[in-house]
């Protein structure tokens, strides 16, 4: 199937701003799904609220556009009801880790087979550029005109500590790596987290004078490095890209089936 067969063409052009990284995440995700040869009916996309979450409107899968921060809670329900389906959960950094932070760590801890994609633009795009838990110390936002004093989460370290069995990071500049990682994450049995550094030229870029969409993507190229590279030894401020965690541990739905089996045996 071609890429265009996986989208709802009637809603294009989409509403994202010119150069918004969220469109590149959509592009890479469609390519991963196409390469894997997944059927549209075998995929459910569950999203919350935010510019990023609008992605569910554009794909021609089963889709649920739910509540801010609660996409993983809805997705957990869908997965337990239909464990045979592939569940994709794209979220903004605010959606996933501010209002939705608790759902996020517990979904990771349970190791339920969902693919969480954190579209990290380091700001609340949809509501006008408020700082998020990923903006970082010293950055500017509508709500931090004199610089943000909050430190940011490290999504990879947080997800790993919370128990996610697949954890990876890439950027909208590194589209080929991003597509490969998304494919691996979807294939993985267990809770997968893919953090994607994504540009919001309209708010994060403009507030912090980072230039155009391409300037911001160039910065993703310059400020990141493959995991374990020599460059990282020389410059510890570089952000690593790649697959950090990939482990085979019991998955929640499979374990739940065993609970049912034990209960049935006891009841018989």
């Amino acid at each position: 199937m071609a890429i265009k067969d996986y989208i709802r063409e009637r809603f294009f052009p989409h509403l994202w701003c010119p150069g918004c990284g969220h469109g590149i995440v959509l592009n890479a995700l469609l390519r991963a799904v196409e390469r894997m040869g997944l059927k549209k009916n075998d995929i459910v996309m569950v999203s919350g609220i935010g510019c990023s979450s609008r992605i569910s409107g554009y794909v021609d899968f089963h889709t649920l556009h739910t509540l801010h921060g609660r996409a993983l809670a809805f997705a957990t329900g869908v997965k337990l009801g239909h464990p045979e389906l592939n569940i994709l959960v794209p979220m903004g950094d605010g959606d996933a880790l501010a209002i939705g932070g608790n759902h996020f760590i517990h979904a990771a801890r349970r190791n339920i087979d969902l693919t969480a994609i954190v579209m990290n633009n380091r700001i609340y795009g949809m509501t006008g550029g408020q700082y998020s838990p990923l903006s970082g110390y010293g950055m500017l936002a509508t709500t931090a005109p004199y610089q943000n004093i909050d430190h940011d989460f490290d999504v990879v370290a947080l997800s790993t500590a919370a128990g996610a069995s697949f954890v990876a990071r890439s950027t909208t500049y590194h589209v080929q790596q991003l597509t490969d990682i998304l494919e691996k994450a979807i294939n993985h049995k267990g809770f997968s987290v893919v953090e994607v550094l994504s540009q919001c030229p309209t708010y994060f870029g403009r507030k912090n004078r980072l230039g155009s969409a391409t300037d911001m993507m160039d910065q993703f190229k310059e400020t990141t490095t493959p995991i374990g590279s020599k460059a990282k030894e020389k410059d510890p401020t570089l952000i690593e890209r790649g697959v950090f965690v990939e482990k085979d541990i019991p998955e929640y739905c499979a374990e739940y089936d065993k609970v049912i089996e034990r209960a049935m045996k006891k009841g018989a």
């Binding site: 052009p13 994202w16 990284g21 469109g23 590149i24 391409t214």
Partner: protein, 67 residues
Amino acid sequence: MAKPKLKEHHIHRDWCKGCGICVHYCPKSVLELDENDKVCAVRPEDCICCRLCEYRCPDLAIEIETE
């Protein structure tokens, strides 16, 4: 494998928002924005069909067709 040969750049003018990402990253300077800020393939003969423009377009507005 033989090198892919370009047939055509398919540009969805209604979807292109003129962000310039494809123009900036094209390794062969094939693409330019026109006076309406829509992308155009001005030097198609130089295209090496790497598809970087297609993969990075946030608007799914450019597609490379090979022979």
